[in-house]
Symmetry: D2
Subunit: 350 residues, 4 copies
Amino acid sequence: MKTLRHEEEDVVKPEKLHVGIIGAGRIGRVHAESLAFRLPESRIVAITDVSPAAAEQVAARCGIPRVAASSAEILADPAIQAVLICSSTDTHATLITQAAQADKHIFCEKPIAFCLHQIDAALAAVKQAGVKLQIGFNRRFDANFMRVRHAIQTGEIGAPSLMHIISRDPAPPPLDYIRVSGGIFTDMTIHDFDMARFLIGDEVEEIYTAAGVMVDPEIGKLGDLDTALTVLRFRNGVIGTIDNSRRAAYGYDQRVEVLGSKGKIATENCYPNQAVVSTAQSVYSDLPLNFFMERYQASFTSELASFVAAVLEDKDTAVTGQDGRAPVVMALAARKSFEERRPVRLAEVG
Amino acid sequence: MKTLRHEEEDVVKPEKLHVGIIGAGRIGRVHAESLAFRLPESRIVAITDVSPAAAEQVAARCGIPRVAASSAEILADPAIQAVLICSSTDTHATLITQAAQADKHIFCEKPIAFCLHQIDAALAAVKQAGVKLQIGFNRRFDANFMRVRHAIQTGEIGAPSLMHIISRDPAPPPLDYIRVSGGIFTDMTIHDFDMARFLIGDEVEEIYTAAGVMVDPEIGKLGDLDTALTVLRFRNGVIGTIDNSRRAAYGYDQRVEVLGSKGKIATENCYPNQAVVSTAQSVYSDLPLNFFMERYQASFTSELASFVAAVLEDKDTAVTGQDGRAPVVMALAARKSFEERRPVRLAEVG
Amino acid sequence: MKTLRHEEEDVVKPEKLHVGIIGAGRIGRVHAESLAFRLPESRIVAITDVSPAAAEQVAARCGIPRVAASSAEILADPAIQAVLICSSTDTHATLITQAAQADKHIFCEKPIAFCLHQIDAALAAVKQAGVKLQIGFNRRFDANFMRVRHAIQTGEIGAPSLMHIISRDPAPPPLDYIRVSGGIFTDMTIHDFDMARFLIGDEVEEIYTAAGVMVDPEIGKLGDLDTALTVLRFRNGVIGTIDNSRRAAYGYDQRVEVLGSKGKIATENCYPNQAVVSTAQSVYSDLPLNFFMERYQASFTSELASFVAAVLEDKDTAVTGQDGRAPVVMALAARKSFEERRPVRLAEVG
Amino acid sequence: MKTLRHEEEDVVKPEKLHVGIIGAGRIGRVHAESLAFRLPESRIVAITDVSPAAAEQVAARCGIPRVAASSAEILADPAIQAVLICSSTDTHATLITQAAQADKHIFCEKPIAFCLHQIDAALAAVKQAGVKLQIGFNRRFDANFMRVRHAIQTGEIGAPSLMHIISRDPAPPPLDYIRVSGGIFTDMTIHDFDMARFLIGDEVEEIYTAAGVMVDPEIGKLGDLDTALTVLRFRNGVIGTIDNSRRAAYGYDQRVEVLGSKGKIATENCYPNQAVVSTAQSVYSDLPLNFFMERYQASFTSELASFVAAVLEDKDTAVTGQDGRAPVVMALAARKSFEERRPVRLAEVG
């Protein structure tokens, strides 16, 4: 990307970042809206999708001037400086490689791939091209979790020793999705694996997982799990747990807690309002924000703002390719631990 | 506004609402951004300000195609269907009248005026023109307060009997602002007078105010107050209080509580995150969202969405001209009560 | 009481305080249990009641060796150093006077009397005898309210400006009680009048009351009120409110909040446990501690511990005779304000 | 204990339970005070301790008529129906056996012993004698944890799937105590093992423990741990965790959370008051109740009330001998899991 950097040296104020979007599904639309309506530093040049109608719809909504016929057309466009890869997971690694070879900066949804070989090939291509890569772990940009990381980084709670992540979905996804998702660890826990590394700022060495099918036997028939408790042992000694359930009857539940030598920090779940009603029956409040689109609305925008700024100001991205690889290794270890009923060192799988 | 309604009859989907903005100060910019970035059903045609540079800046930021030389130019533009009046308070009533005569729908910041004659003249012009008018009491669109009103309207807490509004600013405004603001009741409590009517859904008959200068003696020297406790007696018997202070050291504080025959509903203040830190000294969390721009960000957008929808779908606006007049009457009664140290009936002043 | 003080000079460790109890109703039994089971520094010598059976029952429960035939017998017993006056309100002032004349230290339930002349006569007798007198405003010993007072006294929240007391009963008392209670201000608000003085540490100058019958029309027919909002203006400028309702459907509700120049302190209501349940319907917790016996259990013991210590160690009591008189004056002013629909200065009634 | 039961058949109202106390250390004194001051259904006949001075002191404080020279003297006293074993852990099993043989009902502090053979011998003696035995797992009587168990037993949150116990001490005990305590699992986690069984109402099959020395290296030098995360797998499929740290800088921390098919229930920690202070720096409250004496004050009394009632009314005790054995098995499994870095089935050790 010498071109862009040269341009930056020439102009005082960088141009808007020209972006192409590959994939116009749910997450592609969310990102398109963020860029179009909330990030004036960017400009969407084109969008494409395997369903042209989906791409047309997002283009109309967000004022995107062109619907491209294919990702190849996007990557071939010299006016496009960066691409957002929002297509299905099985295409991520290949598209990263192709985009890097086309000298585009890359924002890619998680996970990069289920297979470490594919990930490593993609990351090698990125490295060789010298382009920027950011992985879509949006929860890092949530105000609550940033506050926790801040407390750890600044020593506000001293040296961390125990960490807990609660991460529960309101309801299981459709069985058709379960069938292709790669399993609970790759599909759901992967966000929490990233969160664990993000909060503690260190690598995990060993994982032990106890899990089961407690929500829906149909999930078990497909070979997946719906309830999992994962114990992480970090290089620096910190012991962490991740509590996952595919069903919390009360709604989406996303909390963390860290104990340190000087104290603890814990975050409550997020609610649509702060009203509390007291009646003759009970003291109650409304259910939490139901799912990730409501809960992480702001962080979806923030992660793109961070990516746009990283490219325009030539800084490191906030979530690197290695940050995309590590949670996949952890997911493999968690699955192996569950299957072999023993703690598994990441070195065994990664 | 027959024109627009005729157009609506002809087309299945209404056109975007074409808007002109009068006033490019802080609130004008907030509204421009909401329309430009978050309300695709609207289109800003032009903006004007007594400072052309301010108008230019907002136009550039929000992609507004034209900076008009004056409000007259805005009102004369046949392509503009609705105007946002965001200029200084002393111009509101006149601009409402002129806009109504120009057959524009009107969104006007509060208060309409300090003087009831001016308000009544403006409302008469609106009525005669048959245009829509919405007053900028944005707090009605806050998720917390909407939840409280919902509890009262649906009977969730039974018949209301006691109501409390806490409304404290983080710090007094500059003395220059105090000098022209019309006083604490017109400037600050007016929002709470509106909230009281909104929540209880009834009119206030009598007001008693105890107030003083406890924050800054300079405010007292200018003839204003900085701390006020106002007791409201509603027509339906409900007794309410409004607690106002121009300084809450911990930041902006906006809460309400209502007791009813079946229970109570109370809202907590709003905070930037849900993190709680426990150390050897105390259990603490971060300060609340500091001021109205942070706290009411979403409600500023919602009130405009409501206005745009009211015009496009030809519905009543959510905050009427009468809703703009009533709090001014209450402010006059509160001031009179303070001065005469006695409860004052609204009939005496309104 | 020179006798006791002489004894104290002679011995290193004071003897147990020998107590007689006049009145074996609900509050008499509570105090008897505190002395018998939780305050080893005291010894109950005798108890009496207009119903001998009631006195017998408490004596059996608490191991009290003697049931006296009358208060006169208690007051005549030279072995008794202090008396607890727990009989009906109309007997308080007379019994205080008699006890003082009998050289007994006195703990008396609130209110001393409804009539200032009777109060003043009783206090004069106490002063002349030089005995100690403590009034049963037990809420002063509640951990929450002590914490608030501490924040004000130490300057933790700076100079106070606004104060709110919420004090709601779960349900109205029987109409037979209403008939003789002296009215809501003397019966219920009196505790809050004391709390206001206790928290702010200053005297009230003026009171304005808005009140009504919103709970039960039968209460109104008896000439009483069931809902009252009282505004207090303290000598030091602080403005306070007291919110009273004879019915909070969710249970007993006792909270305070004070705003000061450096911040605020607010107390939540008290609950039987800290459990929160989240289901598909709502996030809820159990109702608050239902009434004063549960809520103020600890403070009932603490006030007696304080009284026992004040006598044994010859210190001032925590709640003086003047502290018993002032709230009665405030109750008279509140009633007058309600009747005359205007603010009333305490100097007018006290 | 036929004697007592025969007596009960003869009299309508049972006599007071006559109790002897063995051990006058901290916990012996707490129990003596509960019996003496708060449980009128009991009568302490005698107390003994290896330090006669300690026994004298408690006897004086609690009005116990006799200080016995030895536990043998207590057990030989025909007037004593029940004994409280509050002596050091290494004496528990032997004293249980002796007390059973002496036909006394038994309340014994936890743990019964570190060795399963000793436990089994003691329980066999109890069984043979037909006396009642209750183990001192007082936390079962805490209002919070009883509420959680209630939610599970009644189906309020549906079938449980995940459970978390947080149990952290404010500071490590003295190293001299660590030296003889039997290690963190027997000394500290044992309460949580009991809590886990109590809440879920089922037995644990397998345990995995990750632990370390993160608080004080001196603890590690003594062969003990100070930080431990234990994963429990229950027979019914529930997965649980126990978070233990010997140091929470902010004070004692005792919480649980259970997720079920219909929702979750979670308990907050316990605080000395409900006051929240908001200043220009932060929003804060006082530290939690510092340690178990404050936190579990009420439950210490409740467990004895339960024991006294079980004996007087000839009911099963609330915490049986088997309830005393199971947590010791779990502690052995946890230690073994830590040492062998693998999940350990309870069948391997118990």
